[in-house]
């Protein structure tokens, strides 16, 4: 089943830690966002395979924006 993951916060995407096709565990960081001078991971909600990364490094993310999809 595909899960769509949305950003819970706004901020600058500073690192993409997994690419489409990678297997990740639940709570593994997939993206890293800089916000309020912190590096805040966006983690995978489930174990599975990353299907798509919807954002590019350096992008300004908005709260609620779709950031990646994962096949659980």
């Amino acid at each position: 089943m595909e899960r769509r993951v949305h950003a819970e916060i706004s901020g600058v995407l500073i690192e993409i830690k997994a690419k489409p096709g990678d297997s990740v565990d639940a709570d593994d960081p997939v993206l890293l966002v800089e916000c309020m001078k912190m590096h805040i991971p966006i983690v995978s909600p489930v174990a599975g395979r990353i299907r798509s990364i919807e954002v590019a490094e350096g992008a300004m993310l908005e709260e609620g924006q779709l950031v990646f999809t994962i096949e659980a």
Binding site: E8, I9, S10, E34, C35, M36, K37, M38, H39, I40, P41, E62, E63
Partner: protein, 515 residues
């Protein structure tokens, strides 16, 4: 045996009331995955403790001889019962009778439940599964007139918020007055999939040109995310369990004090991992909930409104058996910075703690208000100022632990600084009016502009200033009172709870709680 026939007749009428809206309607309720109102009350309360009031109120039909032929009970079932042996008042809508709409109830029954809780000073639980208040336009036809609306019993609803714990459980599609009753509480829950909440449902909304399903319009997850209700659970039984648990931390009314339970955990427990809990790299986040769970009595943390205003974590817990209101920052959401909704959540929570005389423990990592255009658009400054006002209006025993950052106005709002600063700091403490990062650009603008290599100068200034951020420098000047080993935190918080206990003062507080 003079009155036996009447008692037999009473039992007949009670049996008719127990049929609720009839076999078909009850079957539909079940098919929708919902319990009936009577099953709900039974599962919520201590077994066999329900004493119903007004069971036989409803609409009766008599034959020409004056014999009772049929009976439809009012769609509101209420009375007294016990939760963990403590008396409570419970009232539940019966969706099987006219969809729980007010026009099929006997309004004074709801009023009676509110008044019973108010005058007997008992917690009130509202099981909400009804379509609203004023009822349907059908009443126009039956009454052949309309009326200027008024919110019946609202004086009691509001007064109860100031006097007794009120819990709302959303157990169906809830609209209008039903939604208002669900939200006008100290703690509200919805059950995923069976419960939706809105001001008006999809048919009315469709008239405005917006086509939406019940879930899209008022799904439980959405309602929790925007802070319309507090939490979402998976089942009705989970809702009942959470309601019972919530009440266990609270006094029966504000005229009493939150009850201590027999301590189940060592107040002097020191967890070694706490020395590593905060990463040395200031940009790295950590799991605040794990810290909370370690510091409080085992399994005693009851988080409230997790999906809303997430930069601020709020909940109830026990320390050495004493109920305590817990506030903490979540660095995963805006680094723990205050957003508009986090500020509103905090305001309501402080008022809640104040109402029920709960001492507060605040685990602080606040980089300030969240900055940026969105934050301004959300009027964060107004909502944050409201939280500040709440902080300075209450006089609760209050203990802050500066876990990491305290910057700016929001960071300063970790304690009412004019009262005894009952406060600890971990060695990871980092505070000021502005953080060095970002603050340098503002303070050294001219020097940086004139520099050949502004970046190098910036780094040099930062290197020069960084040692002054040490919490020990603040402690030398007694600007922070007490730097502690993080592993000592639980013993110190348990000491606080014990010191705070005799200071709690029962009674009605001002300003009164608003939902």
């Amino acid at each position: 045996m003079t009155w036996e026939p009447e008692i037999a007749h009473l039992h007949e009428r009670e049996a008719l009331a127990r049929r609720l809206g009839g076999t078909d309607k009850v079957a539909r309720q079940k098919a929708a995955g919902k319990l009936t109102v009577r099953e709900r009350i039974e599962r919520l309360l201590d077994p066999g403790s329900f004493h119903e009031v007004g069971a036989i109120a409803g609409k009766a039909h008599y034959d020409e001889a004056g014999e009772l032929r049929d009976f439809m009970p009012s769609n509101f079932v209420m009375g007294r019962g016990r939760i963990d042996s403590r008396p409570v008042v419970v009232g539940g809508d019966d969706f099987t009778v006219r969809g729980g709409a007010m026009d099929a109830s006997i309004g004074s029954k709801q009023l009676h439940a509110e008044q019973m809780a108010n005058e007997l000073r008992l917690p009130l639980l509202r099981l909400i599964d009804g379509t609203g208040g004023g009822g349907s336009v059908r009443t126009l036809e039956t009454d052949q007139r309309t009326y200027v609306p008024y919110n019946q019993g609202w004086d009691l609803v509001v007064d109860n918020l100031a006097k007794v714990p009120v819990v709302g459980l959303g157990l169906g599609a809830v609209a209008g007055l039903g939604s208002t009753r669900l939200v006008s509480t100290h703690y509200s829950l919805m059950v995923r999939n069976i419960s939706q909440m809105f001001i008006a449902g999809p048919p009315l909304v469709a008239r405005t040109g917006e086509t939406v399903t019940k879930e899209e319009l008022g799904g439980s997850d959405m309602c929790a995310r925007v802070g319309a209700i507090d939490d979402v659970v998976e089942s009705e039984d989970e809702a009942f369990a959470r309601a019972r648990c919530f009440l266990s931390y609270l006094p029966s009314s504000v005229y009493d004090l939150p009850p201590r339970t027999a301590p189940t955990d060592d107040p002097n427990r020191r967890d070694e991992w706490l020395i590593n809990a905060i990463p040395r790299d200031r940009r790295q986040v950590y799991d605040m909930r794990k810290i909370v769970r370690t510091l409080v009595d085992k399994n005693s943390f009851f988080e409230m409104a997790r999906k809303y205003g997430g930069a601020v974590i709020t909940g109830l817990c026990r320390l050495d058996g004493w109920p305590v209101a817990l506030i903490a920052s979540d660095p995963y959401l805006y680094g723990g910075g205050w957003t508009a909704d986090a500020s509103l959540k905090l305001t309501r929570f402080i008022d809640f703690a104040h109402t029920f005389h709960l001492p507060v423990v605040n685990l602080v990592d606040v980089p300030g208000f969240v900055i940026g255009k969105q934050s301004e658009l959300d009027a964060t400054i107004r909502h944050g100022s409201r939280a500040l006002a709440a902080l300075y209006q209450v006089n609760l025993p209050w203990c802050a632990v500066l876990v990491r950052r305290a910057f700016g106005v929001a960071g300063a709002a970790h304690i009412n600084h004019t009262r005894l600063r009952y406060r600890y700091a971990w060695p990871s403490g980092d505070w000021g009016s502005l953080p060095v990062e970002g603050g340098i650009e503002a303070a050294y603008r001219a020097e940086l502009a004139a520099a050949k290599d502004p970046a190098a100068l910036r780094d040099e200034i930062e290197r020069r200033l960084n040692p002054y951020r040490s919490p020990f420098r603040s402690a030398e000047a007694f600007l922070v009172e007490d730097i502690i080993d993080p592993r000592e935190t639980r013993p110190l918080l348990c000491e606080f709870a014990n010191l705070a206990a005799p200071l709690r003062t029962p009674g009605v507080v001002a300003p009164a709680y608003r939902p």
